[in-house]
Subunit: 469 residues, 2 copies
């Protein structure tokens, strides 16, 4: 037991007996070295590393049930872990406990091509899934940037660049298998496309950040690979022009697959990093999916709308090579941004507002960035009203961190004042817990009631989102 | 009090004091005449009429809060009532109590054209909403057939003919205001298109059939009226041919707005009732929305797919007049079916299965219909795998009712065995409660826990969906 107790964190509520039992049960799939614990207690933001007491690599639903049952007896926290790309401290272990790393649960259980769906284990990443699907003519469209796991994306209700056309994880998960805090294994829904039979447990679980249950499989909607994919870039004189164009396109039901906004500074960073020569003004990156004729018509209609709002010249990326270069540049904004201030790290945050408020929200945020001398490019999935601010920050400078945190808080307040949400796709974790009351008011009490009903001993990712008192 | 007590049903759990207090508070908006009570305890199926003790017509969220608080004290059941078009006994009052009729809450609170959304009170019907929106260039697409209220559609997670393109109520409700059993008023979400902030209370409430809270406003997604709407009819030699065509169209991402299947008997009934001359074989009714070019391309592509599966000849309805005639015929199937057996009533039921199982499920159901000598046309929203069977039944003949009920049970068992759901869009009510366990297994216990947590005194539509023991 000595070997176990010396690894238990100061703030841990885990019991040594439980950890010992888990170690005996899982052998070398139970790891409690300092380095692996720190890897699993990390965060990509400024939230302090809070390592779990141990990391376990389960390989089946039954093993997850065993872990939950052992941990429940001693009130030992359990934190599901995917690819470790979350941004708001979802994976930290503020009360210790065990991190469940799903790296050994990556199987594709079934692909039902006729039904346009598949069932996978939660540890598979979106890129791994799309590699697997390559010869089927089908694909899973959601793309949150990072190569996150499907389980992690379900846990945070992720979305990304293609959500404007294909929906978010809320829309694309048909059903889930989950181990609940009482050790029961539920399947949240049948595989039918829709149902009116009972409470929507699928949606309740999606976005619950591991606080209500642990996914062990997910059934996902798939789509046929489009016959034609066209991409284009369109610079605008003003942010309002770009936003008005998007609103008009949405009203026309153009069905664009991607509409990404990059502000001047973001374009400048992208030009430097990806050796592009885009005009340094607010710019939309677009993508259309469909038949050749339909995709071309969409692009043409969008160009007309853009031109009437001062947008242009319009540059097509017709060849796949050019298209890949464009989207690679979009995906590389993180690395591009790091070059804006060598040595600094990116503090990424996101909000989402109704479309009609987007231009004002971004404009006011720009003014805030300038007034405070921050280096902070903006990039957004603006067809949904969702944007990210990436603040280049010296994370060894506490004063600067406070300043950036205050900026992030003002951004959130601004979005909430516009009937927006404190996070469009990153989630609450610990980073945005303080805004739950402001955003949801009396609905937070309902969320507490749900959490208490399903996890009365508070063993599932405790201290996150809904921190029981 | 004598006047109150004589109206209390035998099985009522309502207290006379509560009813008296409500009568005093609401004056002539409290009604307890036999006729209005029976109207509100009715059902469009074979489930026996179970009238509430009284009907109240609230006019604001605050009034609903007052009713909930009064009823909670005495454990008096509350049943929200919209247009009374539900099919599974959702509106019956098996334990008495008060029916809340939302006929006086029909306001459109806001239309946010730029955001493609609106907020309405629950008592407005979908047709009333679309009349209101007529001059805005926007529309609300969901069409469950009946002119149901938005509140009722939200409560049962309704969908209908356009769900294959626009989604179901699950997808189109952005946010709801709800009065909960503890008297608190929550707003389930902000007006942003997406959010990762907290549990998805919107989706938890949608489809909860009034058992978790009472809607007092709903924020809905709207869509631009398409530039062009094209409709077509395509007969098939076989059911499999029709189903294969749909699968191929979905894989191509054709984005059809409606794909309705009518079987031979249904076409025959429609021909008689609506004076059409359609070939009496399995037939698809289609609709495409988009630009002229896009809609024409969709129809052309669909025709090619259909022809390769033995479908055709393809008949377009290019003029609005022809299109209206076609869809009116589709919507009039209920009346058409009644003519198949004068004096009988329609027992309507629905199931939903994965697309790949649809042909087999319908074929086996046909065989069952024939083997049992039933008159039962089939019509379905087959792009979702959802279909209805309308059994013409002599509802004064108990033996026949048992036979039809047994057929309906076999249909449900068949769908469940194919990983389908016992109801795609009608809901559970009391009619399909017995299948909850079979469909959901251990997940039913989770639903019980949620219901108990949010409505511990079981005052919200008790005895439905999740009947607490």
């Amino acid at each position: 037991m000595a070997a176990i107790t010396e690894h238990i964190s100061d703030s841990s509520t885990a019991r040594p007996e439980t950890l010992l039992a888990l170690k005996e049960r899982f052998g070398n799939r139970y790891q409690d070295g300092k380095s692996i614990r720190q890897q699993h207690g990390h965060t990509t933001t400024w939230i302090t590393n809070q390592p779990p007491d141990a990391v376990i690599f389960p390989e089946s639903t039954e093993e997850v049930v065993q872990i939950v049952n052992l941990c429940r007896e001693s009130r030992t926290p359990i934190i599901p872990f995917g690819a470790g790309t979350s941004l708001e401290g979802h994976l930290n272990a503020p009360q210790g406990g065990v991190s469940l790393d799903f790296a050994n649960m990556k199987r594709v259980i079934a692909v039902n091509a006729e039904d346009l769906d598949c069932e996978v284990e939660p540890g598979i990443t979106r890129k791994e899934l799309n590699s697997y699907l390559r010869d089927t003519g089908l694909f899973f469209p959601l793309d949150p940037g990072a190569d996150a796991t499907i389980g992690g994306m379900a846990g945070t209700r992720a979305s990304g660049t293609m959500a404007v056309r294909y929906g978010t994880m809320r829309d694309l998960v048909l059903s889930a298998t989950a181990v609940m805090a009482d050790g029961s294994v539920i399947r949240t829904a049948r595989r039918a496309r829709k149902s009116s039979a009972g409470y929507d447990l699928t949606r309740l679980m999606i976005g619950s950040e591991g606080t209500l249950g642990i996914f062990t499989s997910l059934t996902l909607r798939l789509f046929g690979v489009p016959e034609t994919i066209l991409a284009a870039v369109c610079p605008f004189k003003t942010l309002e022009g770009a936003c008005n164009t998007i609103t008009a396109a949405m009203q026309m039901g153009l069905g664009l697959a991607r509409i990404e906004l990059l502000d001047e500074l973001q374009i400048s960073a992208v030009n430097n990093h990806s050796k592009l020569t885009l005009p340094e003004t607010p710019t939309l990156f677009l993508e259309c999916h469909g038949t050749q004729a339909a995709a071309e018509e969409q692009i043409d209609l969008f160009r007309e709308l853009a031109e009437s709002e001062g947008g242009g010249p319009f540059a097509w990326a017709k060849r796949q090579e050019d298209r890949n270069k464009l989207w690679q540049a979009r995906h590389d904004v993180h690395w591009a941004n790091l070059q804006l201030r060598p040595g600094a790290k990116v503090m990424a945050t996101d909000v989402c507002v109704p479309m009609s408020r987007l231009a004002k929200c971004i404009t006011e945020t720009h003014a805030d960035i300038q007034a405070n001398g921050l280096i902070a490019p903006i990039v957004g999935h603006v067809g949904d009203g969702n944007f990210h601010v990436c603040v280049l920050t010296d994370i060894d400078n506490k004063e600067e961190i406070s300043k950036v945190a205050a900026f992030s808080d003002r951004l959130t307040e601004r979005a909430l004042a516009m009937d927006g949400t404190c996070t469009g796709e990153h989630g609450i974790g610990t980073g945005k817990m303080k805004f739950m009351q402001q955003e949801h008011g009396p609905a937070v009490a309902i969320m507490y009631a749900l959490k208490t009903a399903l996890d009365p001993y508070n063993i599932l990712n405790p201290g996150k989102m809904i921190a029981l008192k």
